[in-house]
């Protein structure tokens, strides 16, 4: 939130109005859920429930940050789930030998990087639309897995499940949450201060204008995929190490939850806008829904529908606020915005 107000201050409009961002609404919504749970189902605030929610939140968030970078460049990655499934199987092979977490997590990050990089190459070098390219590689990855591994990998050693079963900070907080926190803070700083992040927004806003300002659009797009890859690798590692058995379909379909978290977090699927803090809030809300519904007495069968409703509501609210904003502000040509390369997301 702080990041938002800092950036927007120079615009010289009312401070309160500036606070009414997607992130602000999300935060209000999140607090409302948490307060409602406190009143309706106090049992929800047990150590176990909170930690289960946080653990799911951690890997959802780590992967969603990667997805966010890709969506900011106006691309999309529906191969994320498939990449994480491949990561899960590969690290299970490595972990089966008794290798420790740093080793197989590093392997997972490299696998994620390479596969995601391939996606980036298809999209930029061959000009294949991102959705088509990643759909094809999804089929390739999930199709190739059963050829390599027949069935699942079982009986993984304690060193493999150490992260999920034993690695707890203060005896309770899963280490995966610490990973997520470090990565999130790192990326928030990166998006705030690095020059590269401005290029991400510029490319997402208007590729042509970005080219004119001297940005190598293809390079920026590939880098977005290359950065997302290791994040998928870490998320895939957390998912895979959650049990002593790894199947070939560990994270298939998970990309939809990632996209949902990113979109709920206020990132426009058209690219050029979106913040990490929004994704954090989006991912946290999505992580809460199913357990919260269970505690207030609703069948988990409804969770997909409820999540869909929340996302729809968020998108509608965002689109209405964009429409009303556009009426009031003078439209600044995209080229100028990108050239100045500062917080292009909000101006648009």
């Amino acid at each position: 939130m702080e990041q938002t107000s800092l950036r927007q201050a120079p615009d010289g409009k009312g401070k309160f109005k500036k606070m009414l961002t997607t992130e602000f609404y999300l935060l209000v919504f999140l607090v409302a859920i948490l307060v409602m749970m406190r009143i309706a189902a106090p049992d929800f605030y047990s150590l176990n429930t909170i930690m289960t929610v946080l653990n799911y939140f951690s890997y959802l968030l780590i992967a969603a940050i990667g997805m966010n970078l890709i969506i900011i460049t106006s691309n999309i990655d529906v191969a994320a789930g498939a990449i994480m499934s491949v990561v899960a199987i590969v690290i299970a092979f490595v972990g089966k030998t008794g290798a420790p977490l740093p080793v197989f997590m590093a392997v997972g990050m490299v696998v994620g990087l390479v596969l995601s990089w391939v996606n980036g190459l298809f999209i930029t070098k061959l000009k294949i639309p991102a959705i088509v390219a990643t759909l094809a590689t999804t089929q390739l990855f999930v199709g190739a897995l059963p050829l390599v591994v027949e069935g699942s990998i079982y009986d993984l050693p304690a060193s493999f499940t150490w992260l999920a079963f034993r690695a707890k900070l203060f005896g309770a907080l899963p280490a995966s949450v610490v990973f997520a926190a470090v990565i999130t803070v790192g990326f928030m700083l990166f998006m705030r201060y690095s020059r590269f992040s401005k290029k991400l927004y510029a490319v997402g806003n208007n590729k042509y204008a970005a080219t004119l300002t001297g940005i190598n659009v293809n390079k920026v797009m590939i880098l977005a995929f290359v950065i997302a890859g290791p994040l998928y690798g870490i998320a895939g590692t957390i998912i895979a190490t959650g049990g002593q058995r790894v199947t070939t379909t560990m994270a298939n379909g998970f990309e939809m939850t990632l996209i949902a978290a990113v979109v709920l977090g206020g990132t426009s699927i058209a690219g050029g806008s979106g913040k990490i803090i929004g994704t954090v809030l989006g991912a946290f809300i999505l992580s809460l829904i199913t357990p919260a519904m269970n505690y207030i007495g609703m069948s988990s069968d409804w969770s997909d529908a409820v999540m869909g409703g929340i996302i729809l509501l968020a998108v509608v609210v965002a689109s209405i606020s964009t429409l009303t904003k556009k009426k009031k502000t003078i439209v600044v040509p995209d080229a100028v915005v990108s050239a100045s390369a500062s917080s292009s997301g909000e101006v648009k």
């Binding site: 150590l47 176990n48 897995l145 027949e150 002593q244 199913t290 269970n294």
Partner: protein, 390 residues
Amino acid sequence: MIRKKRFTLVLVIALAVVVAFAFGACGGGEQPAEEPPADTPTEEPPVETETESDDVEPAAVKVTIAMLPKFKGENYFDAVKVGAEEAVAELVGEGADVELLYDGPPQNDATNQNQVNILEGWIAQGVNAILVSPNDPTAIAPTLKKAMEGGIKVLTFDADADPDARDLFINQGSYDAIGSGMVKAVASKLTEKGYGPDKTANLGIVSSAKTDANQNAWLDAIKALIATDEYSWLKIANEETDVYYPGPDETETQKQSGTLISRMGDGADQIQAAIGLTSMATPALGAQYESAASKPDATKVTMTGLATPNALKDYIKNDANPLDTGVLWNCMDLGYLSVEAAYQYASGTITPESTTMTTSRLGEREIADKVILLGDALIFDKANIDEFNY
């Protein structure tokens, strides 16, 4: 410029190869499609009718049995395959000429269409018998009927198709048998932990999607059983919240199993026994217990469910983990019985009207209503889990 074009061309070709590979890998049924029109061959069947008359010396005619699981992979079907291969080895050892074809869709693409593609190929080849575990009992029926019209013996195993689309069904365990296996497993462990008619216990159940027929039938069997006097001290307190439907999704199953575990304990408003109805849910319960930040007292709660022994081994052997038992049918025996039935039917030893069939390994099995029943559920625990390797 030319160089660049050539580079693009190479990339395009590479992509084409990659995509073709990908779809080939997913389809699993590419070759059949390339075969000449997949019309039913009429030459083959008569050959096999002859066998029926001279089943005294089956070695004379080759019997090809084609086995189609719901999907390849998952060691459930791997175990079935091992049993099937053992049956073939046994038959060959007795002098019969049997060949087993085994193919299925990949695990994440277990669709009816993929199964139909594979079947069309086998119908074109003119195999003698087909063993199918259908993903969709109704949608696969026309293809199975086509095979039957072509003189191929059609049997289902593991999951049934529409009854008029197959000659025999090898049922691994009735829904009641499996349901009662799970209730018995839970009841005996809960009794050890101090529950019983004087102290009721709440059940929590992790299913698959709400539309999944098998899981619903098992759930109904469990509900019917805990409504009887013997198990009336087991309760599902609130079906809305105590039965979880995470769907066939690994991360969702893990998350919801975790939520269930945080609701476990010995309080009256808590849950004392968790049952997983899928091979994904049961290991997830074991794993989420291990991951839990503050674990419910293992001496006050118990967990069980459907899964292969290998998927639960570490949790069952670990006394600190309340996943005490697992329930399944003997998968290898299912594969063995299926191939035996297919062979005996194709070679004329049995007909759908027979009332019994005999195998050397399993002895006599009843055939009722064109259904061959494998037998009771297998309950495994710390004492016998090492006997199974699947």
